[in-house]
């Protein structure tokens, strides 16, 4: 592995040149990528909200937000500012502490999961060996926050919504994990970097989506259910439950739920891109192109181009999936709760198990194509 441009090294060295001790310089570096990632995630949410409004308008033959900035791009910003300045009401008979803690518990694990999302070979906060497993573990915390806010609201609809959200989240986590295990088995690793590397040899033809045709469908259905997107948005089904666990919330606490659900959607799309669409890889392997032209791998210009292409490709793939999710939301009706649970337990779980078994068999039979 060539070192290439070492941003961390340059940053720490320039700070130590100013006379700051190296320990302090390292401590100053540490939060930087995390802040960058949080800001990136938040901007991603704003873009997603704008996309949602524009695409839903197009699906219903409306124009959508138009006058707030060019093409209405400032509409989500206005939404956010409105929610920040709104009065933060806590209804009289709620359980104050749990009422506040619930949305926080929902949002924090989602943001923490961005630790493992890679945008390039070295453009990731931490390359830990557990990668996607950590994401699954973090996403299992969210139901506690939902149950907490449902209980603390002291409202029948909220409690029902919280219970539904937790039941849905638990049910769909199992097929989700099974489809992730199949991918991890093919790449012999849980690390997101290794999973992408294993798909990088032949450009678009080596992406996992061709080798996991069942797996990616299961993954995407379960990811939609985990994000509580329509057609699986039963916890907040407005005809039945007002707004589910969000009923009593307003102001910043509601904004946290809102933010959390969209961050979760973008995160799921990013993980889908990493697991099945080759992550930061260009459809044509860029290193091979460079070697054909005769550019050295350590050339700094090539590295900058590769890095920006990598970020661009990851975001592009993720937003394509977000687009699909929005399109599904505005075209498909909501399922019933029993249909939802039947789909999860009686269909996706056996199919996921069969997919895992098939992947294992294919891996033994054709170790060349399925990562021996």
């Amino acid at each position: 592995m060539n070192s290439g441009i070492d941003l961390q090294g340059i940053f720490i060295k320039s700070l130590t040149d100013f006379g700051i001790p190296s320990g302090a310089a390292k401590a100053l570096w540490l939060p930087l990528p995390m802040f960058l990632m949080i800001i990136g995630a938040t901007v991603g949410v704003l873009v997603t909200v704008w996309l949602e409004r524009k695409i839903s308008a197009a699906a219903q033959q409306r124009i959508g937000p138009e006058y707030m900035g060019p093409f209405g791009v400032l509409a989500p910003v206005a939404d956010g500012i409105k929610l920040v300045f709104k009065e933060d009401t806590v209804p009289a008979k709620t359980d104050g502490i749990l009422f506040t803690l619930g949305p926080i518990l929902v949002v924090i694990p989602v943001f923490l999961s961005y630790l493992i999302v890679p945008f390039g070979q070295n453009l990731v906060i931490t390359d830990i060996g557990m990668g996607v497993f950590l994401w699954i573990a973090f996403s299992s915390i969210a139901p506690i926050g939902l149950l907490m806010s449902g209980y603390a609201s002291n409202n029948k609809y909220s409690l029902l919504g919280g219970l539904r959200a937790a039941a849905q989240s638990i049910s769909y986590e199992i097929p989700l994990s099974l489809s992730v295990i199949a991918v991890a088995m093919m790449s012999n690793s849980l690390s997101t970097i290794d999973i992408v590397d294993q798909q990088s040899s032949l450009g678009i033809f080596s992406w996992n989506i061709w080798r996991q045709p069942l797996g990616f469908l299961i993954f995407w259905i379960c990811a939609l259910a985990e994000c509580e997107r329509l057609p699986f948005d039963l916890p907040e089904a407005e005809e039945e439950l007002v707004a589910g666990y969000q009923t009593e919330y307003s102001g910043m606490k509601f904004a946290l739920f809102y933010l959390g659900s969209y961050v979760n959607l973008v995160l799921s799309a990013l993980i889908f891109a990493v697991l099945y669409l080759g992550g930061w890889n260009f459809p044509v392997p860029i290193e091979k192109l460079a070697s054909w032209i005769g550019v050295s791998e350590t050339n700094s210009w090539l590295q900058i181009i590769t890095a920006s292409l990598g970020i661009g490709m990851t975001v592009l793939k993720a937003y394509f999936l977000v687009f699909l999710a929005v399109l599904v939301r505005w075209t498909v009706p909501r399922v019933r709760i029993d249909q939802l649970l039947n789909l999860g337990w009686k269909f996706l779980l056996p199919v996921g198990l069969a997919n895992l078994l098939l992947t294992a068999a294919l891996k033994l039979a054709f170790p060349v194509a399925f990562g021996g």
Partner: protein, 206 residues
């Protein structure tokens, strides 16, 4: 002391405080819902301690299984049951409390002597980063020297799962239809609707 060691000591202190505080809350609070939520806090603090011990996989598994599954199911059970029953004071409650205290004290003494008697080798591993990822090491152990316990545990889990499915599938007969003249149920079975009836009943409903 460098940055990493300082962070380790501070986070160890914080996690221990969090864990002990939350555990005391689980035991002492009167509201069972608070206890259940605090139990989640205990599990998360334990996961943090595992991370400090370089056991990253165990930490993530702890969060996934204990926080994501066990604690959520406990909360489910509490919120679905919703039994508002006043606590009736028991006669001679001190006997039970004394016995509990005795058992707990005994466990504490046993664990304390174990901690003191074990020769902990703290100097050897400081700064040693494991050569391969912990998942690989755990997997190797599972399929070589710990194969039997691993398989036994999976069989145990399978038994528990089948038992849960059987319990959940059973359709009870309503109380009044079980007439006293009916032949005694064979041992180890529960009153249950016969299979043919069940199918006919579901047909009628549909």
């Amino acid at each position: 002391m460098n940055l990493a060691e300082g962070v380790q000591i501070v986070s160890f202190g914080l996690l221990s405080l969090m864990m002990i505080g939350a555990a005391l809350g689980v035991v002492l609070l009167a509201n069972i819902v608070y206890s259940a939520f605090l139990l989640g806090g205990v599990f998360i603090s334990i996961a943090g301690l595992y991370i400090l011990l370089n056991a990253d996989f165990v930490a993530a598994a702890q969060i996934l299984i204990y926080v994501g599954a066990v604690n959520v199911l406990i909360l489910f059970a509490i919120m679905l049951v919703n039994k508002r029953q006043d606590f009736a004071p028991l006669p001679n409650a001190w006997v039970r409390q004394g016995a509990t205290a005795l058992v707990c004290a005994g466990l504490f003494v046993l664990l304390g002597t174990m901690v003191l008697a074990t020769p902990w080798s703290t100097t050897k591993v400081v700064g040693a980063v494991p050569a391969q990822s912990s998942i690989v090491t755990i997997g190797e152990h599972f399929f070589t020297d710990y194969l039997l316990p691993f398989e036994l545990a999976s069989v145990l889990l399978l038994i528990a799962m089948i038992g849960a499915i059987i319990l959940a599938r059973r359709e009870y007969l309503p109380e009044q239809t079980i007439s006293p003249e009916k032949p005694q149920q064979p041992a180890l079975t529960l009153p249950e609707r016969p299979k043919e009836l069940l199918i006919a009943g579901s047909d009628k409903k549909a």
